[in-house]
Structure formats: C-alpha cells, structure tokens
C-alpha cells in the first residue's frame, strides 16, 4: 500500500484528539495516586464494568485493525479458529485463575509465582519470561501506530512511533494504574464505535441486509460469496492439532500474559474480577465478529469489483475498504480507533514492565552485589537503544558501534548500581523509583520499536505461546494443585520457555522453515499454514508434564504454602485433602501425551 502523499487532516485531528484525551485523563487520574498500591494496582478499587472495559482495549490490540484481516483473506478458517479460541480464552482465564489471583493479593504475576512457591529464583526467572513476552507483544504494537501514521496520515512512521510512544509513556508514568485503567476504558469505547460504525457502512454499501449489526449481518450474502469464492468457508487447510495448539496458546497464554493478569489485581474483590471478565468476553466477541465481517466484505469486494489489493496491503484492508466504500469521514474514525487500540495495549505492557523491574526485581535485592547484574543488563539495553537511536537519526550504525555502546552501557549500569543502589527502600522511595523506571522503560521501548518484528499478529501469537508454557502453567497448577512445588515449577517453566523461545528465535526471528530443522526429529511435523503453532502443542504439554512429575518426585511444599491454595479459593479453614487429589494431575499428563502424539498423525492428509 502506497503511503499518502499528503497529510489526511481529519484523520490526524481525530488521532490527536485521542492522544490528548489520553494525557488529560491521566493528569486527572493522578490525584488518586498516593501509595505504591495506588500506582501499581489502582488501590484495588476498580469496579467490574470499568475493569471489563479496560480489559477489552487491552485484548484488542492493533491486530484488530492491522493483521487479522490479512489472516482472514489468506485463510478464513484458521483466522476464525484463532479468534474463537482467543475470545473463549477469557472464560478459561476466569474459571481457572482470575478470582483466585485477586484473593492472593499480589501486585503482579511474578510476585504471585514467587510467593506461592516461596522462591526468589522463580521470581527472577518469571521476570525474564515476562520481559520476553512483553517485548514481543509490545514492539509490534508501537510500530503499528507508526505504520498508521505513515500510511494513512502521511506522517513519517518514525514520528508516529515517537509521538505515540511518548504520549503513552507520559500518561502511564503520570497516572500509574489509575491513569492506565481510565484511559483503557475510554479507548475501549472509542475502539468499539470506531470499528462498528464504519464496518456497518461498508456492509450497507456492498448490499448486506443486516448491515446495522455487522457481526451477523451478512448471512444473506453467503450464496453470492460461495459462487465467487467456493472455498471461502472450507476448513481442511491445516492439521487439527494446529487448532489445539491455538487453544493451548490462547487459554494458558492469556493466563500467563502478566499485563492481562495484572488487571485482576486492581479490582475490589473476586466477584468483581469474575464479572469484569464476562463483560470483557462479550465485548471482545462483538468486536472480533465485526472483524470477520470486514474480512468477508474485503474478499467479496475484491472478487466482485475486480479490485486489485496487493498482498502486502492486506494488513490495511480495513482502512482501504472503509475509505473506498464508506468515505473519508469514516476512515478518520477508523484511524482514531486504531490509534486508541495501539495505545491501550502499549500502556498495559509498559505498566507491567515497570512494575516487574521495580517491584519484582529491584525491591528484592538485599545488597549492591545482588543488584549488580540487574544494573549491568539494564545498562546494556540502554546502550544498545542509544546505538539504535544514533543509527536511526544520524546514520551512525553498523559494526562495531553496537558492541561499543553495549559495553559502555553495561559498565555504566554496573557502576551506577554500585553508587546509587540502596537495599530495603521504603514505599515512598519505591514510588519515586517507579516513576523513573516507567519513563526509562517507555523510552527504551520507543527506540526498540524502530526495528520491530514484521508481522504483528504472528509476534503476538508467539508471545502467547511463550507465556502459556512459561507462566500460564505454574499459575494454573499453583491455584488448583497444592502438591505443585518450586522444583516442578522451575523445571516446567524453564523447559517450556526454552522450547517456545528457541523455536521463536529459529522460526519467528531467523525465518527458518521448521520442516528443515534437523532437531528435534518431530520438527518435520510442523508443516503447513501456521504449522509452527504446533510448537505450542509441544511446549505447553511438556511444561505441564515436567511440573507435575518433578513436583511428585520432590518434597511437598510447606503447610503454609498449601494454605495459600485454600485461601485463594475463599476457604477460611484449611483441609489438606482439598485441591490435592491425583485425578487432576493424572488427567493432565494423559491429555498432554495424547496431544503431543496427535501431532504425528494424519500426516498425508494435509497440504505441506
């Protein structure tokens, strides 16, 4: 898709309104922040409706506007299956984790894992996993805002990234979780209206009878579609285990994604946590089904009007359709909606990254020596970011500059930690540090977004997979099986994360074809469209099996730790038999083995 030659004034004005509104809300919300609990979890005062709406915008990242339609055009059935899983996964999150996590009274996923298993090592490992999944999730979204500015508003991409990034960093830093929550609520409303109305107009233009309700308003056009594209609804594209991989990634990934889980620590009580999820799943489904309608309209329009939309522009087909079939006024709305979608996701991720660094890492160090690696790594990242900025703006790049700035950053980080680190800081100091950390993380993320992953949706699906194997499994077992201990969780977490992360490095980052990878031997089964998703169907089951088996073979957790499970479920008394049977772990192991075996079946029936 060619970028606009001129600035699209109406679109730019509406986008700036969204940006300004976000900052204003945060400045207003700042008055509520007095303590560390206010900053990280909004004083645990958020109601169900507010939290539900905030979760909607967190869930519906820029992929709603950019990415999903491309997947629908290229293979409807997989796209529908992916988003069916994603939508239903919120109920999985609710029944398996949400209210129980709220009762646990942690601030973050990492704190939960550390406290439930009484292990600092697990806290550090989970922070690393959190940073991996957050960066994967985040880079694409911030870059997406830049793309929206570039292609649709005629503003250079880099300014989109910088302006969008600075605005979101500013309002997260200023407003903390209150600012993030109220902003996400506003952004959800903007996003829903800015997608539903333009799509309704598009459906009316192509002649759908039920255009007023886009999610189910195009049924009368199905015969026309099947005569134009007979295979549109055909399902036999990918091996069935792909959908099971999608299920595992969505259901346990959403439980493992710390920025989703953090929302449940902000609500008043477990009841509000439950109902906020119901509100969220209804609205997420409403928006997702509207996106299917958009994909349908796009394919129908391309086939019947002979419109030649190049494959590279499939990502932006929502905007193309709205502009051609609804007009520029509606396009301006859709652009504003997409900016809101991008901002909301980025803000949630910045919040959890800042909280993870200060609350879960910095506060845990007892001496300057313990804090040394933290400072050094942060310095290294800052040095590399500085190098990236120099390369982008002044063209000073290439070898050996990354090495030079990396080493300078590393040494500087180590020295500064030794000079300024203080153990046992009080909450007021932590709050001040949190402001600084949030600002620093925001700036680093902006710089890293100059060169993010190419395909936003794919990067996000990978982050779901890594989160599922690395964080989702220990959370679920920690809530539902008392016998789970730190040794089992350590084994499952590390192996599950490594399998999914190394697969991402090889397939997602280096672009290797999984079928050509000699090791492991079953990589040849990762064939077909989105065949790499089968990696999740290995990593998650293996993480479950290892956690359960190693927990069984090692000493049980202390009574105090087991008591946490009863408390999370709302019991005031303790009963060692509750949540401690053999039925659940054995069922999980059997199902896990069946899923992994399933990958090797039906080999000859699907396109390679």
């Amino acid at each position: 898709m060619e970028p606009r030659g001129e600035v699209f004034v109406l679109g730019l004005v509406l986008s700036i309104v969204v940006l300004l509104l976000s900052v204003m809300i945060s400045v207003w919300a700042r008055r509520f922040t007095r303590t560390l609990g206010d900053y990280y979890v909004a004083g645990r005062s958020i109601g169900a409706l507010n939290n539900g709406l905030a979760m909607v915008s967190l869930a519906l990242s820029l992929t709603t506007f950019i990415g999903l339609t491309a997947l629908i055009i290229e293979g409807l059935y997989i796209a529908v299956a992916v988003y069916a899983s994603f939508t239903a996964a919120f109920i999985g999150l609710m029944v398996l984790a949400a209210p129980y996590l709220r009762r646990h009274k942690s601030f973050t996923t990492m704190a939960f894992i550390s406290e439930r298993y009484d292990s600092k090592t697990l806290r550090y490992i989970s922070v690393v996993v959190m940073l991996i999944v957050s960066v994967l999730y985040l880079g694409g979204n911030l870059k997406g805002i830049g793309i929206v500015f570039y292609f649709l508003l005629g503003v250079p991409e880099i300014w989109g990234i910088i302006v969008g990034g600075l605005v979101v960093t500013l309002y997260v830093t200023l407003g903390g979780m209150y600012g993030v929550t109220y902003n996400q609520t506003m952004q959800s409303i903007v996003l829903i209206f800015c997608l539903m109305f333009p799509v309704a107009i598009v459906l009316r233009t192509i002649g759908a009878a039920g255009w007023a309700f886009p999610p189910l308003g195009y049924g009368d056009m199905v015969p026309l579609m099947t005569s134009a594209v007979p295979h549109y609804f055909w399902a036999m594209v990918a091996h069935p285990v792909v959908y099971i991989g999608v299920f595992l990634g969505s259901f346990f990934g959403i439980i493992g994604l710390p920025h989703f889980v953090m929302r449940f620590f902000t609500v008043r009580d477990a009841k509000e946590a439950r109902w906020s999820t119901v509100i969220c799943v209804f609205l997420v489904g409403l928006v997702n089904t509207t996106v299917y309608a958009t994909g349908f309209a796009a394919v129908y329009y391309m086939q019947t009007a002979g419109a030649d939309i190049p494959t590279a522009a499939y990502d932006y087909v929502v905007f193309i359709l709205v502009e051609v079939l609804a007009g520029e006024g509606w396009l301006a709305l859709a652009i504003a909606g997409s900016v809101a979608a991008g901002l909301s996701t980025v803000s949630g991720l910045l919040m959890i990254m800042g909280a993870g660094l200060i609350h879960d890492l910095y506060s845990e160090f007892n001496s300057k020596f313990e804090a040394l690696p933290f400072g050094a790594v942060l310095g290294l990242v800052a040095g590399l970011s500085f190098n990236q900025a120099l390369s982008t703006f002044f063209g000073i790049g290439g070898m050996p500059w990354p090495w030079i700035w990396g080493i300078i950053g590393l040494l500087l980080g180590a020295v500064l930690t030794q000079l300024f680190f203080k153990p046992d800081v009080d909450d007021e100091s932590k709050l001040k540090l949190s402001y600084g950390a949030m600002l620093l993380v925001g700036i680093l993320v902006i710089v890293f977004s100059f060169e993010p992953p190419e395909f936003i949706l794919e990067a996000i699906m990978w982050s779901f997979g890594i989160a599922a194997a690395g964080l989702g499994v220990p959370i679920v077992l920690g809530i539902w099986w008392k016998r789970t201990n730190k040794y089992g969780v350590g084994a499952g977490m590390v192996i599950g994360t490594l399998i999914s992360f190394i697969s991402w490095l090889m397939i997602g980052y280096l672009g290797m074809d999984p079928v050509d990878i000699p090791f492991p031997f079953f990589a040849k089964y990762f064939y077909g469209p989105l065949g790499w998703i089968k990696v999740i169907a290995v990593a998650v089951p293996l993480s479950f099996i290892l956690t359960i088996v190693v927990s069984w073979l090692t000493p049980p957790p202390s009574e105090d730790l087991q008591r946490q499970v009863d408390e999370m479920h709302g019991w005031t008394d303790v009963d060692p038999k509750r949540y401690n049977g053999k039925g659940l772990p054995i069922t999980i192991i059997v199902l896990s083995i069946i899923i992994m075996w399933f990958i090797t079946t039906l080999y000859d029936q699907f396109p390679k």
Binding site: Y77, V80, A81, Y83, A84, S85, T87, A88, A89, F90, I91, G92, M94, V95, L96, P99, P215, L216, Y218, G219, M221, V222, P223, T226, P230, H231, F233, W234, A235, M236, H239, P240, V241, Y243, I244, V246, F247, L248, S250, F251, A270, K271, R274, W275, T277, V278, V281, F282, G285, L286, N288, T289, Y292, H569, G570, W571, D573, D575, K577, R578
Partner: protein
C-alpha cells in the same frame, strides 16, 4: 471438613471443570472436530470447468441445508459459541460462584 464445606468444594470443582471443558470445546476443540469430521459439514462436488485449474477435479462446498441465518453451520457455531456461548457459560459460572462465596462467608 464439614458436610456443607465438602459439598461446596465439590460444586466448585465440578462446575469449574464442566465450564472449562465446555468452553475449551467451543473455543478450541470444535475447530479441530470440523476438520476431522469434515464430511458432516462439507460435500465433495465436481469442480466447475473454469475453476479446475485452481481447485482440481473435485472441490468441497458446505452443505447448504446445514446453515443458520445464511451462514454455514460450522462457521455460525464457531463464531456464536465462542462469543455468546462463552459469555453465557461465564455468566452461569459467575452466578454459581457468587452463591458459593455467600455460603462460604455464612
């Protein structure tokens, strides 16, 4: 554990298990079932001459009598079950857990 507590525990575990299984089917496994049992939803028909180059001699079209509000049954079920279905299951689970929580407090 008192009888009431034991009953509450069983309700919590079983209702949660059933809700999770149902939502896992609607949200994930149903997609697989459509692929595995594709003959239920699709007919294999001769390809029209102008499309043979693209689809081969035979192609699959959904069974027209299996449609709801114009949509193919499998497509309708996928989007409606994972949306309205999941919301309804979630709401039912919430109501049961709300009651259970009240009993725990009492």
């Amino acid at each position: 554990m008192s009888n009431d507590a034991r009953r509450g525990y069983k309700i919590e575990v079983w209702v949660t298990a059933i809700c999770f299984i149902v939502v896992a089917i609607t949200g994930g496994f149903f997609s697989s079932f459509v692929v595995i049992f594709n003959e239920v939803f699709f007919n294999q028909v001769p390809t029209p001459e102008q499309l043979v180059a693209f689809y081969g001699e035979t192609m699959f079209v959904f069974k027209e009598h299996l449609s709801v509000w114009g949509f193919p049954l499998h497509y309708f079920l996928l989007i409606v079950l994972s949306w309205i279905g999941a919301t309804a299951i979630g709401a039912i689970w919430c109501i049961v857990m709300d009651r259970l929580e009240e009993q725990q407090r009492a």
